[in-house]
Symmetry: D2
Subunit: 331 residues, 4 copies
Amino acid sequence: MTTITFPQGKQFDLVAIGRLCIDLNANEINRPMEETMTFTKYVGGSPANIAIGLANLGLNISFIGKIANDQMGNFIRNYLAQKNIDTSNIVIDKTNAVTGLTFTEIKSPSDCSILMYRNNVADLLLHPVEVQEGLIANSKALLISGTALASSPSREAVFLALDYAVKHGIRIIFDLDYRPYTWRDEAETAVYYNLAAEKCDIIIGTREEFNMMEKVLHVQLDDEQTASKWFTYKAQLVVIKHGGDGSIAYAKDGSRTKSGVFRTSVLKSFGAGDSYASAFIYKLMQGETVDVAMKYGSASASIVIAKHSCSDAMPTLDELEQKVKNGTYET
Amino acid sequence: MTTITFPQGKQFDLVAIGRLCIDLNANEINRPMEETMTFTKYVGGSPANIAIGLANLGLNISFIGKIANDQMGNFIRNYLAQKNIDTSNIVIDKTNAVTGLTFTEIKSPSDCSILMYRNNVADLLLHPVEVQEGLIANSKALLISGTALASSPSREAVFLALDYAVKHGIRIIFDLDYRPYTWRDEAETAVYYNLAAEKCDIIIGTREEFNMMEKVLHVQLDDEQTASKWFTYKAQLVVIKHGGDGSIAYAKDGSRTKSGVFRTSVLKSFGAGDSYASAFIYKLMQGETVDVAMKYGSASASIVIAKHSCSDAMPTLDELEQKVKNGTYET
Amino acid sequence: MTTITFPQGKQFDLVAIGRLCIDLNANEINRPMEETMTFTKYVGGSPANIAIGLANLGLNISFIGKIANDQMGNFIRNYLAQKNIDTSNIVIDKTNAVTGLTFTEIKSPSDCSILMYRNNVADLLLHPVEVQEGLIANSKALLISGTALASSPSREAVFLALDYAVKHGIRIIFDLDYRPYTWRDEAETAVYYNLAAEKCDIIIGTREEFNMMEKVLHVQLDDEQTASKWFTYKAQLVVIKHGGDGSIAYAKDGSRTKSGVFRTSVLKSFGAGDSYASAFIYKLMQGETVDVAMKYGSASASIVIAKHSCSDAMPTLDELEQKVKNGTYET
Amino acid sequence: MTTITFPQGKQFDLVAIGRLCIDLNANEINRPMEETMTFTKYVGGSPANIAIGLANLGLNISFIGKIANDQMGNFIRNYLAQKNIDTSNIVIDKTNAVTGLTFTEIKSPSDCSILMYRNNVADLLLHPVEVQEGLIANSKALLISGTALASSPSREAVFLALDYAVKHGIRIIFDLDYRPYTWRDEAETAVYYNLAAEKCDIIIGTREEFNMMEKVLHVQLDDEQTASKWFTYKAQLVVIKHGGDGSIAYAKDGSRTKSGVFRTSVLKSFGAGDSYASAFIYKLMQGETVDVAMKYGSASASIVIAKHSCSDAMPTLDELEQKVKNGTYET
């Protein structure tokens, strides 16, 4: 069975780079947002959620990002610090940028939508010279997510972080996390996703995301071909998600692992991907095989989608083990 | 005693133009925003608040503005419509602009602050060609507020609305409402405030706001001189606010009226100005003298600052009359 | 016969504000620009041309403007200084803005076109706080031209200059000079042209320019009505140009003067308006009647359109008097 | 001796992508630009110059770029077409962008400077979807230059062109051509230069350009180390220029070739690099060894720096052979 090795003897298990923002989740659910009167505030953003999930499970995590110089920014940094996440490379913006916001609308468990505020957000202003090489040198893995590639200078900060990670031989994990509304057009997106993916060891995305990356090159690949393409670069593991049909992990050694599902009572669909990723990465870093990691990923997702938030709902190791032990894993 | 006459036989008592946005007011008060976990959503924006206040008191109001094409925009339009405010000139943005947000932090009754989201907001995208001349022709008064002058094309929309108002001989009320963070610099602000004020019949602002308008011209005026300056243009009434020291209304006929205060238990300071303005304008339009209008303005303010919101707390005529009858007006 | 009075005892006869740029005129004429191989460099821009024309005729002129911090900017300042124009309020840009360029294409005397470079030009970066009130206080007249209203902060600089001119009671001359390509849209243009024209004593423009200013207000005026409208503000003289059919000057005293033409051999049509304006203003400032000023304006235009440049071709007083004496003035 | 192989059986010898602009060269030399009165117009831009040089020498060349929809754009396209360069992928801008301009100032043979107009230029608006994959598939080599990476969408167009070139196995030549004024900052520049260089077979640049690319990674390499770094990616040949000390070509096979110089009477230094590159590439594509290619490069440079323009002065094969035969090559 396939496992992924990570460099040892590093201060941090993983350093994440990218989006730090605020989720404002509707308190009154099962109705359109027009009729929602109150909202609860949580830390959000895909890499932030995954970092929090990993910290909850006991890993030593650092974060590279930029926050607004206001109460929202303070809240984010305080929250991460309380989770024992290293915030020494969380830079405070000096240009009056704001914190990105995501209002959620929960009409029904399967009909959720979001309303984003992404104009002049601090997280996209992280500049390459603000990325601390030493932090990356002292980590076993770097986690990037696609949203941080959406505009300059955050885009260049991520590419420089990738260069540092390559220079120091640490593992790189790419959570594609493609959000069309933050990008100018699909061709631009594909160009940078492809440039970044060439440098990554583990690539996690939906079939649609991989399609977007391939379309600009005028090719149409099936899952096997997609995975094979990235194996010619640096990838060792390519996880392709097929929504309700589950995910398949392709490894460079030729193995192929399909995920199952832990049934639960779904409150909302948000957070499924981030909670999956955090437990999946956790188990891979523990030296577990891909199929075990996928099982824990599914367990983690089933816990989070039954709760109101993403970041705040990330399970502890105990909760996760309980779910794996007591839940029903349908494959 | 001074009264202001308004044209008669018009469909609307007043048409307001400008900012329509969302207030997100902290539910947990007396603490910094970092520790605020939930927020309640209200319609906000100075001209919106005044328009709602006037509609509550029974006037026939229309609004000229632009809203985002999303749930926040829908909520604003629905709320105004429920208040019987005419929304036929509330234009829906087609460019993915967002709704302006104002998060409030209530540390104590006297220590309140706000955090604004004003990047790419729909209200500032109102274009001059979207302003319906007929609506202004069919109103007794036009209300403008300074925030709508902060950038193009909303700035030009307001100037064109002023031209229409002059063309049709209707009264113009200017609530200065200067918010530095939405402006590039003070000189730019002063230029447009002065150009707009030249065309207005009633000008309401703080001493600091008038100072800002005069500084760029290298003059320093006292209240009398400030008022006199505007009487050489079109003004009939200039209200200058001195914070805790109350306001003074200067009329072109030479009269001078000082406001008093209704004491109350203050929850937060937000909304005092807008609630004052709505009752003050209401009484002026009823043909009352300036001193009566100021008394009702103070009563209205004392009601709103004791409650959690601005727009939603605007009193009905009954509430207002009760306050005037039963409250203590200290002059 | 109508004359215009100007304040006396001032250091400068006239201060102009606005565009300073470079004309690059095709040396090989009567062919499309694609086939033009060499260009000659001149100072250009409507207010610069008029200022140079006035200085040539012996008036004491100052200029308020902004130039790029490069060789083109140096050339402009040096040229004006050689013409004895005061350059103490010509500010040097510090933001790497460039000098506006106008390439001319002379296919035939009647078929001339231009290609403009107006992105990030220094002249439109003049900031209101850079305008010296003292210079305006010490001039008999202020000349503005419409292009300087095209964008911020130059737009606000012009409005502040107008405020200073009103404060100090000096004459204001507005050369409409509407160049559509420098503006976002016609409604925005009309709003600012109207705001500026309200403060001016002498307004000079084409029928099409006045139409543009009136269209946004949903009115359609003939020449008499247009002139009458501005007489209700501050105007004393409104000159409306009808292309080949000549110009008509309407005075507040009810007089109406039609211009004639000095026939000449036309090389190109550029510069006709600026050379006309300079001699026209010169004669008005000498206390001559409007009809004499118009005759000299026509003479000046006939001299410039027979030569290769605008600024460099502006006549001296001797040349102008010779033309008036020896030329045939067809009315 | 080292040679570079190119794929055979392609329609075009080379396709260049990037900057197409206009040079306006001072006719009056040996003086500052302030005193230059006339300018002559030429096609310019590093990849354009190299493409013209290659076409002059008889290669079959295509160009991928974007031109303004005006007389300057027409002139560029016509000129390339006259040189038998394929213009089927020269896109005409539809957004009123302008043609980039470069004014030259020739104070002395060794003291030349330029003044660039790069705001809103058409060449930087080339969009990735406008790049024709078929054209790249049908070429033996792709030439990119660094200026086209300076901003979006041209930056993405170049990266996509690189992807197409890799997909079709054609040679890629990277002329670094770093122009600081077109970039936001050095870190951003280095990130994209490094990403592009990873995909290139032949990299040509100055020592300072390679230093800039290395500085962001906190490494300082000598020529050998720089070349070795790129050999770990795709490079086969790395040419590092040391100004007056000549250039050194490092090949992946370990060879190292130093260039010499043909003495000439220098008029201006502009164009030396582009003329060198065109003859160097030409000879490499003829199957010649690196040292022969460098000799022809030097001969070509010595011809161009003695003449007034860059593009127009590119030698024919006859001229080049004459220079090599009759000139003195000092090594």
